[in-house]
C-alpha cells in the first residue's frame, strides 16, 4: 500500500511538472518550510488523543534538510468497559534531518527519509472506579493526579511532499518510533505520551500543510 502511494510521486519526480510549480527552483529553491500537522489537530479535536504541531524544515544542502518540530500533545480518553479516564496536555519537541531521495531536486516534490530525536516532559491524570478486594473486603480508590513522567524516543521517518498551490505544500509522513527511555511510575506506564502517541504503539504519522519561503 505504501508503494502504491510512493510510485506516482516517483514518477512525477522524474519529470518537471508544468503547472503550479513556484518560480524559484533549483539552486535558488526556497530554504525554509513551516508546516502544520492537520491530522494531529483533527485527531486532537475529534478523537481520544492527538497533537497540535508546527514544524520548521530548512534546506541545508541540495538533498539534506534539517527539521525541528514542536507541539502540544493532548489526550482525554475514557474506556467504555473499564471506566478508566486518562488526561494530559503537555509539550514535546523533535529535532532531526531528512534526505530527499528523488533524482531531480528541482521539481519541488520530495520523497524523503529521515531520523528524529524527540523528548517530552509531561504529567497526566488517571482515575477509575474503586478496586474491590474480593477476599478481605473493602475498596481501594484509583485516583491519581499530576503524575509526572518524561520520555525520550527516536523516530524513523518516510515522507512525501508536493506543491498544491504556489508556495503551499502538502506533506505526509509515516513514522516508526522507538522509546529510548520513559520514567515509569508505580501505577504503570503512561497510556499516552505527547508527541509519541499511545505508549504501546510504534507507528504514527502526520499530514501537514506547509508554507515555503
Amino acid at each position: 500500500m505504501l508503494l502504491i502511494s510512493v510510485l506516482p510521486l516517483s514518477a512525477q519526480g522524474t519529470k518537471a511538472p508544468s503547472d503550479t510549480r513556484p518560480e524559484s527552483q533549483g539552486k535558488h529553491a526556497p530554504r525554509f518550510t513551516v508546516t502544520f500537522d492537520l491530522a494531529g489537530a483533527v485527531m486532537c479535536a475529534a478523537t481520544d488523543w492527538g497533537q497540535y504541531e508546527i514544524g520548521l524544515k530548512a534546506r541545508v544542502h541540495e538533498r539534506w534538510y534539517g527539521a525541528l518540530e514542536l507541539g502540544i500533545g493532548c489526550a482525554d480518553a475514557t474506556d467504555a468497559n473499564t471506566s478508566l479516564h486518562y488526561t494530559t496536555r503537555a509539550p514535546y519537541g523533535r529535532i532531526g534531518c531528512d534526505y530527499n531521495f528523488l533524482r531531480r531536486t528541482d521539481t519541488g516534490h520530495r520523497l524523503y527519509g529521515g531520523l528524529r530525536v524527540a523528548y517530552s516532559p509531561f504529567a497526566y491524570d488517571i482515575s477509575g472506579p474503586d478496586i474491590e478486594d474480593p477476599v478481605w473486603g473493602g475498596n481501594t480508590p484509583f485516583q491519581y493526579a499530576d503524575v509526572k513522567s518524561h520520555a525520550l524516543w527516536g523516530e524513523a521517518v518516510v515522507g512525501l511532499e508536493t506543491y498544491i498551490w504556489r508556495f503551499v505544500r502538502l506533506g505526509w509522513t509515516v513514522r516508526y518510533r522507538v522509546k529510548c527511555s520513559e520514567k515509569k511510575q508505580d501505577i504503570g506506564h503512561a497510556w499516552y505520551i505527547p508527541g509519541y502517541g499511545k505508549g504501546k504503539d510504534h507507528f504514527g504519522g502526520t499530514m501537514t500543510i506547509g508554507f515555503e519561503f
Binding site: M1, D79, I164, F203
Partner: protein
Amino acid sequence: MFNRLTFLVKVAVTSLVLLCACTSIDCPLDNVVECTYALYDSKSKAPMQLADTLTVSTVKADGADTILLNRLVGCRDFALPMRHVSGADTLLFRLSNTWQQHAVDTVIIAQEAVPYYEDLDCPASIFHTLISAKAISHQPSATSPVTIDSIIITRPQVTYDNIENIRIYMHASY
C-alpha cells in the same frame, strides 16, 4: 493538476488506513494477582511435595474467617491472594494427615499494596511489594510431625506473573 490531486487523495486514504487500521487490546490473559509460595525441604533445600493436607485460612476485615486454600494434597507450590491494603497479611496454615493429626502454623507477610493499570482497556488491579515474611510454627509432636521450619522472600514483586515469591522450608520430624 489532475494527476497531482489523484496522488494526494491516494496519500490521504493510505495514511488514514495506516493510522487507523491497527488496534489491539493488550490486557494480560492471566490478570489475577496472587503471591506464589513454593515448598522446600529444610534439610536438603530441595523442592518437596507435601504429603499432608494443607488448608490456608485468614481473618477478614469484619472478623470472619475465610478459607483461601481448601484441603490441597500433594502440593509443591500454590498461589494465594493478598490483601489490597498495605500491612501484614496473617495466614493460618493447617497441616493434617491421614492419621487425623493436625496442627496450625501462622505465616505473617508484611506487604505494600500498589494500584496498577496495564492499559485503559484493562481493569486496574493491585500489585504488591513484599517487605518481610515470618512464620510462627508449632513444635513437631504427636499432633503433627510436619511444620514450617523457615520462610524467605525470593521475589518481592507480586504481579500477574506466576513466579515464586515466597519459599517455605518444611521440617518433618519423622
